[in-house]
């Protein structure tokens, strides 16, 4: 149904079923990711605003364990690699290998979430709860929202694996895996920002007498 003249950049991306020449589902996921940018933009802004506004500790430098969080970052980066390898395998027609990579991505995602739960547990034991101070509130809300996104991603990945075993994920339907992959990589880039802004950039020491 190619009724409208399309820009040259769309020439290699013709999609017979839509007026834009692009798959609607893929356009929709990019729109969703754009809106999710705003959500995390708001949460990160709030964290930066309040991380130095706590009257009582613990403060960021009291609780953060950079080597531990660095390992978590490597785990999430590795999961992005396994995700693209799953898509590449499926596009080559290697469904079995694609399934293995999808499962590996889900396992890495679960490792990340497990690490985050452990980190939260340690922080709570050190006296930092959601209501302890402004740092605690903004930190848990930001990283908790990110963790929730990773958890949703893991559920989608495990669903893909189940569908694959049922023969419903085929090379012809690789777009489904690509869409979940886009979501997964988005979760990864949000963590790239969180790791730098929340963990690595030093905070100002609390004001005297605070």
């Amino acid at each position: 149904m190619a009724t409208l003249a399309q820009p040259a950049e769309h020439a290699a991306t013709d999609h017979a079923d839509t007026s834009t020449g692009l798959p609607n589902a893929k356009l929709a996921i990019w729109l969703f990711l754009a809106s999710d940018c705003l959500l995390f933009g708001a949460l990160i802004s709030t964290y930066v605003l309040y991380r130095n506004a706590s009257a009582v500790g613990p403060f960021p430098s009291d609780v953060f364990d950079i080597p531990y969080t660095s390992v978590s970052s490597f785990v999430l980066l590795a999961s992005s690699l396994t995700m693209v390898l799953a898509l590449a395998a499926l596009q080559r027609g290697d469904v079995a290998r694609s399934r293995v990579w999808l499962l590996a991505t889900a396992m890495l995602g679960m490792t990340f979430v497990g690490g985050q739960v452990y980190e939260f547990t340690v922080f709570v034991e050190e006296g930092l709860s959601l209501s302890t101070n402004m740092f605690g509130t903004s930190f848990y809300v930001l990283t908790g929202f990110h963790g929730a996104h990773v958890t949703v991603g893991v559920i989608m990945l495990l669903t893909l694996v189940a569908l694959s075993f049922g023969g419903r994920i085929t090379p012809e339907r690789s777009e489904t895996v690509e869409l979940v992959g886009l979501y997964w990589h988005f979760v990864d880039i949000v963590w790239i920002a969180i790791f730098t802004i929340v963990y690595l950039i030093p905070t100002n020491p609390p004001a005297a007498g605070a």
Binding site: A8, E9, H10, A11, A12, T13, D14, H15, T20, G21, L22, P23, K26, L27, W30, L31, L33, A34, S35, D36, C37, L38, G41, A42, I44, S45, T46, V48, L49, I66, P67, S70, S73, F74, L77, A78, S80, L81, M83, V84, L85, A88, Q91, R92, E175, E178, G181, L182, H185, F186, D188, I189, I192, A193, F195, T196, I197, L200, I201, P202
Partner: protein, 111 residues
């Protein structure tokens, strides 16, 4: 034009895709992942090096932006797919950055 591109992709060993440009090969993906891991390691090293503390924030932002770009361009295929997807995403990203700057300027975070 589309046919020519698809032929070029197949000649280069990349499978033609029904509605998208060439995607990188697994080797390219692994190369990008190694670069991402190296940048992350550099971030952590820089965090502990005493001599660069004065420039720590700009260095960390640079590393972070590099990693962000690599994932978006290669793993999310924005370098290879239709520019329309990129426009949507850049719009959201610009909105997020504007929101971030407006909030921080309003509350005078840097003063």
């Amino acid at each position: 034009m589309a046919d020519t591109r698809i032929e070029e992709q197949e000649a280069a060993g990349h499978p033609a895709r029904p509605h998208g440009g060439r995607h990188p090969s697994p080797k390219e993906y692994i190369r990008i992942a190694v670069i991402l891991a190296a940048i992350t390691a550099a971030e952590v090293v820089v965090y502990y090096v005493e001599g660069v503390q004065e420039f720590l924030v700009p260095i960390l932002f640079l590393f972070s932006a590099l990693k962000f770009a690599l994932v978006v361009l290669w793993f999310m295929h924005l370098k290879f797919d239709s520019k329309t997807y990129a426009r949507f995403f850049v719009l959201g990203l610009a909105g997020a950055l504007t929101l971030y700057l407006v909030v921080l300027l309003t509350f005078r975070v840097w003063s």
